[in-house]
């Protein structure tokens, strides 16, 4: 298939693997964080680690939107959805995310009207089709999906749709990366930077990471050769003692990003002073809310929202996984109490979550390693 197979050529992968291996300095190990859940998925789906030398390990970052939503926000969303006359529209990924007393799926079984949509515009259409109900769109995601939420709010306003609002959980990508770098616990050597987010924000915002934290960042596409090439580019920077932002995904991402998308975000949303992240705690100026002039479309203004704060389940180590402190299989409940069927932590829910990706695709690798250690 064109535009896919070119990026999955094993011969090119072997060549890149040799180049990566040649850049490894003897006795040194390298820890690279793939920020985005899409990369985690690619790495496991294609068995990409088979091409990496033992000295290079990939750790999974906080770039899966489902994984970083705290339990309290799930409870708040369920509280809104359970009010009479409310129809909640959400992406399918979120249906199984556990709150304190169950997930959207559980709430739906108890009678809440919760529907899966593929885009916020579908939620707006639902509002037009159900004029007697309040339709609330559960907005989540990084700067990748924030523009489509913004456009939907603008369209709802232009069309005078009064029964539509947004429960805004949009987050931004740079603050959690800085938070991870600032916690001294983890020694990262560089970042495989997210591709889709960067299509919106561009490469420039990562300069702060290269400059202030002296860590190389390579903005990267989602095909397996993209990821391998990014590893090579990071290793080259490390071998040359450089820390710069480079763009591997130039077929999609420009240095300055997408000005139209950034403009609609800025027009409709502003930074919250603080927002709780699953496993990372409160991070200042890391999330977006609707500006006050769009308050009519803000579910947090329209509905009674408990504003629940819920501690993560004690057994769950999603926070350490998201910070790259442990690998998914090192979590004490991984594949035992916590599985994709009955997730305890968010990382086990979405197919882009590090634990779910590892559970689905990667367990063999780990088992082989264990067998080797015996």
């Amino acid at each position: 298939m064109r535009f896919v197979d070119e990026y999955r050529d094993p011969a090119k992968a072997r060549a890149l693997a040799r180049q990566i291996a040649s850049l490894c300095e003897p006795g040194r190990t390298y820890k690279l964080m793939e920020v985005c859940g899409g990369h985690t998925h690619t790495i496991y789906k294609h068995g990409l680690e088979a091409y990496l030398p033992e000295a290079v390990s990939l750790v999974h970052g906080p770039g899966c939107p489902v994984c970083v939503i705290p339990m309290g926000r799930v409870d708040d969303a369920i509280a809104i959805a359970s009010q009479p006359g409310v129809t909640m529209a959400t992406f399918g990924d979120l249906m199984r995310v556990p709150g304190r007393r169950g997930s959207f799926l559980d709430a739906k079984a108890k009678g809440a009207d919760i529907r899966m949509v593929y885009s916020p515009l579908d939620a707006l259409r639902l509002a037009r089709e159900l004029p007697d109900r309040q339709v609330v769109f559960m907005a989540i995601g990084f700067e990748t999906t924030a523009p489509s939420t913004a456009v939907t709010v603008l369209r709802a306003q232009a069309e005078g749709v009064r029964n539509f609002s947004v429960f805004c959980n949009h987050v931004t990508i740079i603050p959690p990366l800085r938070a991870i770098l600032s916690s001294a616990e983890v020694a990262l050597d560089g970042f495989i930077g997210p591709g889709h987010v960067s299509a919106v924000i561009g490469c420039r915002p990562y300069e702060v990471i290269a400059r202030e934290h002296q860590k190389p960042v390579v903005v990267t596409g989602f095909e397996p050769l993209d990821v391998l090439q990014a590893v090579y580019m990071l290793m080259r920077q490390l071998s040359e003692r450089r820390a710069a932002v480079e763009n591997q995904y130039s077929r999609v991402v420009s240095w300055e990003g997408n000005p139209a998308a950034l403009q609609v975000i800025d027009q409709t949303m502003e930074l919250r002073p603080s927002f709780e992240w699953r496993g990372l705690g409160d991070i200042p100026y890391s999330a977006l809310k609707l500006r006050s002039r769009y308050a009519a479309f803000d579910a947090e203004e329209r509905f009674e929202v408990p504003g629940a704060r819920v501690a993560d389940p004690r057994a769950c180590q999603c926070g350490q996984v998201l910070r790259g402190l442990i690998q998914p299989w090192q979590c004490r409940v991984f594949a035992k109490a916590c599985t994709p069927e009955r997730p305890i932590g968010t990382c086990m829910v979405s197919s882009e979550g590090a634990c779910a990706a590892y559970y689905n695709f990667g367990r063999r690798h780990r088992q082989a390693q264990k067998a080797g250690q015996r």
């Binding site: 992968a13 496991y44 990409l48 994709p340 069927e341 689905n360 088992q367």
Partner: protein, 358 residues
């Protein structure tokens, strides 16, 4: 009614009025009779159904070996949305689904039952199309709908039409099939490209704004299975039709039941380009997407070539191919050698990415 008795004088049959199914059609009275006669008897027409007894009496054919065939018996419900999609509709799906479940037991169908739960308001023209598709599919499988039932429920209590079919079949005398029978060294054969049906229904819903040249593969596989078993029954250890959950799920069931591993070769698994493209766009793995006209066969290595040749000689198995091998380790797991050169685990799916595809 038994043969030999004179047929009773023809009862005046109420005419089927209107364009839509109403609750009256489910009342059990004249309107029900009119609906059954004008739609179902009209389409299925056969000596066992036509008298509209409470059940059908079947003659079980003798077998060459011992005169007492083993019977296979199965049932399946169909709730697909939309009712009509490229390549088929809920009608042929309902017949082929049950015929293929019998085929996976190594059986040829003797008779089917069909039970309809119809939502008030369904267009009679649609119901006729569905019934006629069922009749055609049954003929293609060499069987018939011998008995059935009809219920009508209020608007909003069902989505157009739900169908449950059951089937009885006579098992091939040489068949010794079980998903627990796979042995290390066995070859895994799939009868054609995977994922056509699921991808078609997903796109036919029109919610995704993607269109592609794909059609459901719904087809009766009893003929293909007969050809396979006539040639290689002794080496055919397991058969399974990869419907919901797709190839990945079926092979996980085999691995778990047989206590073996299965190693797939991604490059060998046939997937149509349009299906692969749609799955790429949607982030869905074609290994988990349903087929409705494919059979997975686990065959001993010494008979694998003959099994493959027999399948390829049948029109519904022309694209049959070996996609993997059964291994001793890791027991209970399915692995895939990726085309990219890595290895991954192919687990059972949790949660349904595509609800109501059959």
């Amino acid at each position: 009614m038994t043969s030999g008795q004179a047929a009773p004088a023809a009862r005046p049959t109420a005419r089927l009025e209107g364009e839509r199914v109403t609750l009256a059609h489910g009342s059990g009275g004249k309107a029900t009779q009119a609906l059954v006669q004008a739609v179902f008897v009209e389409a299925f027409h056969n000596p066992r159904l036509d008298p509209l007894e409470d059940g059908a009496v079947l003659e079980v054919p003798e077998t060459a070996t011992n005169g007492r065939p083993r019977l296979a018996y199965t049932t399946d419900s169909f709730v697909v949305s939309p009712l009509f999609f490229p390549g088929g509709c809920i009608g042929d799906l309902a017949v082929n689904g049950t015929v293929n479940d019998l085929a996976a037991c190594g059986a040829q169908p003797l008779a089917l039952s069909a039970s309809f739960i119809i939502e008030e308001g369904l267009a009679l023209a649609d119901l006729r199309r569905i019934a006629q598709a069922m009749a055609k599919a049954a003929r293609a499988a060499g069987t018939e709908v011998a008995t059935g039932d009809t219920k009508v429920v209020q608007r909003g209590k069902a989505d157009g039409c739900f169908i449950t079919t059951s089937g009885v079949g006579a098992v091939h005398p040489g068949a010794r099939l079980s998903i627990a029978n796979a042995r290390p060294g066995d070859r895994v054969i799939v009868s054609g490209p995977v994922g056509d049906h699921g991808a078609t229904v997903m796109l036919a819903r029109g919610e995704l704004g993607i269109s592609a040249q794909v059609a459901s593969d719904t087809a009766p596989l009893n003929g293909l299975v007969a050809a396979l078993l006539d040639e290689a029954a002794a080496g055919t250890h397991a058969l399974r039709d990869p419907t919901r959950g797709g190839l990945a799920t079926v092979l996980n069931e085999v691995a778990a039941a047989s206590g073996v591993g299965v190693v797939l070769d991604e490059a060998a698994i046939p997937v149509r380009t349009a299906v692969r493209g749609a799955c790429e766009l949607l982030g869905i793995d074609p290994l988990y997407v349903a087929c409705e006209g494919r059979m997975v066969a686990v065959v001993a290595p010494d008979l694998a070539d003959r099994a493959l040749a027999a399948m390829r000689a049948h029109p519904l198995g022309a694209e049959a191919t070996v996609v993997g091998e059964v291994t001793a380790e890791p027991a209970g797991m399915v692995l895939e050698k990726t085309a990219f050169g890595g290895t991954r685990v192919v687990d059972m799916l949790s949660g349904d990415p595509l609800p109501r595809i059959c």
